[in-house]
Structure formats: C-alpha cells, structure tokens
C-alpha cells in the first residue's frame, strides 16, 4: 500500500482509489448514523441508527482491509488529509434534521444497493464476495429507510412537504455521488464490463423516480447546494479523541 497521502494521486485503472471511494462512503455514513443516534423521533429508530452505523463502519473496515493492513487502515481514517478522501458528496453531508437524514439515507441505501448488484460481479480479488455479503446485511437498512420514507410521507400533506423539501436538497447530491470520479478506470480496475456502473446509475435513477412518484414525491434535478460538503467538520468530530494522543487508541 502507498502512504495515505499518495492515495489521491493513484493512477487511472488502479483498484485502490475505487475501494477507497467505496470505503470512505461507508465510513462517513457510519459516523453520521452513530453520531445522531439519540435524536431520532422514537427509541427504536435510535437503536436502529446505532446498529446501522456500526454496520457501515464495519463495512468500511473490510473495504480498507482489501488493500491495507490494520495499522494502515487506522491511519487512513485518523490521519489522512481531508483532500485525499474520495467519498461522494452525499456521504459528506451531515444532516441535522430528521427528514434530511431520512432523505440522505434513503438515497444512500438505494444507490448502494444498486451499485452492490453490479460490484458483486467484479472479478477483482475479494470484491465480489465482500459486496455480496455486505448487500445481505444492508437489506435491513434498505427496508428500514424505505419503510420510513413511505410512513412519513403518507402521514399528512405537511409531512410529505417536509420530505419533499429534504429530497430537493439531497437528490442532486445523490445523483452526483453514484459514480466514482473516473467510472471507466474503476470498471477496468474492478473487472466489470465497460459502462456497467453508468448503466446501473441510469436504472437506479429511473427506479427511484418511479418509487418516489408512487408516494406523491418527486426527484428534481439541479445543482448540488453550496456548503453540502461538510467533510472537514465531520473529520474534526471523528478525530477529536484520537488527536488527544495519536497512535494510542
């Protein structure tokens, strides 16, 4: 493995940047979920968020583990410069309201599920088996957020309007986050057919438009909102304890 600072400069077609992108998405989402567990509207939701957050962090650990040993993975999480993180824009958002979290997680999980179906056919060593196993575990997440999106938006016109406003903010971020920076290079590195990820993105977007329409919701394209990238604040929070005594935790 190269030093953490060199990850961002890896060459086209290299597997490591692609795995880093997938792992970073899981790590940041796991951090958000474990951090907000406690302010969900019901106790059971908080238990669920904590459990899902642990799952995501565990998945990140496994993905880093495909190219890094334990010490290297720890440095990637706690010492890597923010500029070297590869997570998508959606994973970099840190929602502070329930319906924003609901929209973020619904879109994150549906995208992860659609991507996992493609990645489970990757020929790169270890990737397919790991993605298939992750998908088994994440079906619980998907069911949870799907149920809450439907429950909340069917509750009342006012509730649906709040969910719609959240989707209006989160959908452009999700749409910009489905693919890695260089999809062709990622497909070659993973051993996927050319265009497989782009096809999956089109199918996911179309399926989610229909699913939302059935709930009286819509997904409106637009530019990602300014200030959506809150990675810096997220990393400060994540590293707060570690930085009191680096290398000792």
């Amino acid at each position: 493995m190269r030093p953490a600072s060199a990850v961002a400069e890896a060459a086209d077609g290299d597997l490591e940047p692609t795995l880093t992108w997938l792992a970073d998405d899981e790590l940041l989402t796991g951090h958000v979920l474990t951090s907000v567990a406690g302010w969900g509207p019901e106790l059971e939701i908080n238990v669920a968020m904590s459990s899902m957050g642990q799952d995501e962090i565990g998945h990140a650990r496994r993905l880093y583990g495909l190219f890094a040993d334990a010490g290297q993975a720890e440095r990637l999480v706690y010492e890597r410069p923010a500029a070297a993180f590869r997570a998508g824009l959606l994973a970099r958002t840190y929602p502070r309201e329930w319906e924003l979290l609901l929209a973020r997680q619904y879109l994150f999980e549906t995208a992860a599920d659609a991507r996992a179906a493609v990645l489970a056919r990757a020929t790169a060593a270890g990737v397919a088996a790991l993605m298939a196993e992750m998908a088994h575990e994440e079906r619980y997440h998907l069911d949870f957020w799907r149920t809450w999106l439907a429950t909340t938006s069917r509750r009342s016109d006012a509730a649906r309007a709040r969910v719609q406003r959240a989707l209006d903010r989160m959908w452009p971020l999700a749409a910009a986050s489905f693919l890695p920076e260089r999809p062709g290079a990622a497909e070659r590195a993973l051993g996927l057919p050319e265009g497989a990820l782009s096809r999956a993105r089109r199918e996911w977007a179309s399926a989610e438009r229909e699913a939302c329409q059935r709930l009286g919701l819509s997904l409106c394209d637009g530019p990602p909102e300014a200030g959506a990238d809150q990675l810096g604040a997220m990393l400060d929070e994540m590293r707060d304890v570690y930085q009191t005594a680096p290398g000792s935790w």
């Binding site: 059971e44 238990v47 669920a48 459990s51 899902m52 642990q54 799952d55 995501e56 962090i57 565990g58 998945h59 650990r61 496994r62 880093y64 583990g65 495909l66 040993d69 334990a70 010490g71 993975a73 720890e74 060593a125 270890g126 088996a129 790991l130 298939a132 196993e133 992750m134 088994h136 575990e137 619980y140 069911d143 949870f144 009191t244 005594a245 000792s248 935790w249």
Partner: protein
C-alpha cells in the same frame, strides 16, 4: 522445492477440540457451536482455521481471531496458526443443537434452516418480529405471543441457503482490530 506435508487428521481433531473452548465474546456459546468454524487443516506444525463472521461489523471478530490463534498455538506440535475469514453468509441453521440450547438459556433464538424461529423461553412458534435491529448488529428483536416475552433472534444472512466456500484464498479481508498487544492506556 520441499514437499507439502500431508494433512494431520489426528491433530485437526485436537484443534477442533481446542476451538470448542473458544467462546464468542458477545454470546454464551463456543464458536464451533455457533457454526463459525468452516474448516481446519493441519500440515506439519502449521494450522489453518477457516471462519465465517456472523456479521461483518461484529466488533468481537478480532478478539475471536486472537483467541483462536492463542488456543491453537498452545497445542503441542502446532507452532503457527493462520485464521482465514470466508464469505458466504453465516446462517442460523449453522448453529448446533448444543449451541441452540446455550443461546436459549440467554434468551436468544437462532433461526432454523427454513428461517423458522421458536421462542427460546417456551418453545412456541407463535412469535412475531418486533424490530430488525436489536442490542447488537447480529440481532433482531422479537416477541412471543404465547408466553408474552420479548426475546432476540440472531439475524439470518443466507437468504437462499447457498453454501459458503470452504477452501481457497480468504474471501473476506481479516477484521481490522487494534494492533497486537491491545490498546495501551492513553
């Protein structure tokens, strides 16, 4: 090139006995009864233990790995122990009868091969899911309508009963735990 020693079946049985004493740190049951051990191979003084994780994010996996290594290398004639994590999805059906009894004693149920769940307290099949998320990542919550008692169920991951691969290169990267020697005090 030196010849690969043949499998030592007698020593493999000794390793399995040693593994039967390794408990899951979060469950009152050995990793053998939990169905986590998929294969053991001993050639010469080197053992390879193939395990499946119940859940990928289980925070106890690195402890299991470390305890397996310690227990196996404590056996006479075993100098080295490799732990290989396999994919394929652990399932409740992998739990032995002894494991089910031990889990039931702690108010936990493991689904049968067809996914059926019985109450660990009264044995009734008249149970219903309460929440897919329980007190640990590998557990969901359920309720028995007969004895009116809540209990937890180990989550099943193998939806279609596909068998896990048991040989070849590790499928799942090793769990990333703390560095050898554990966490020093800050």
């Amino acid at each position: 090139m030196s010849a690969v020693p043949p499998p030592d079946r007698a020593r493999e049985r000794e390793v399995m006995r040693a593994l039967a004493a390794v408990e899951d740190p979060e469950l009152p049951v050995s990793i053998v009864d939990l169905g986590m051990v998929r294969a053991v191979t001993v050639r010469g003084s080197r053992a390879v233990v193939e395990l499946v994780p119940t859940f990928l994010a289980c925070p106890a996996l690195w402890m299991v790995e470390s305890e397996v290594r310690r227990s196996v290398t404590a056996l006479p004639g075993v100098a080295e122990c490799e732990v290989a994590w396999r994919a394929g999805g652990w399932s409740g059906a992998d739990v032995t009868e002894a494991g089910r009894r031990a889990l039931a004693g702690a108010g936990l149920a493991a689904p049968a091969a067809g996914g059926e769940v019985a109450c660990p307290f009264c044995g009734s099949p008249d149970v219903r899911p309460a929440s897919p998320f329980g007190s640990a990542v590998c557990r969901s919550a359920a309720y028995c309508d007969r004895c009116r008692t809540p209990f937890e169920v180990l989550k099943d991951k193998r939806s279609t009963g596909g068998a896990a691969p048991v040989s070849g290169a590790p499928d799942v990267p090793a769990p990333v735990g703390p560095p050898a020697g554990g966490h020093p005090a800050p």
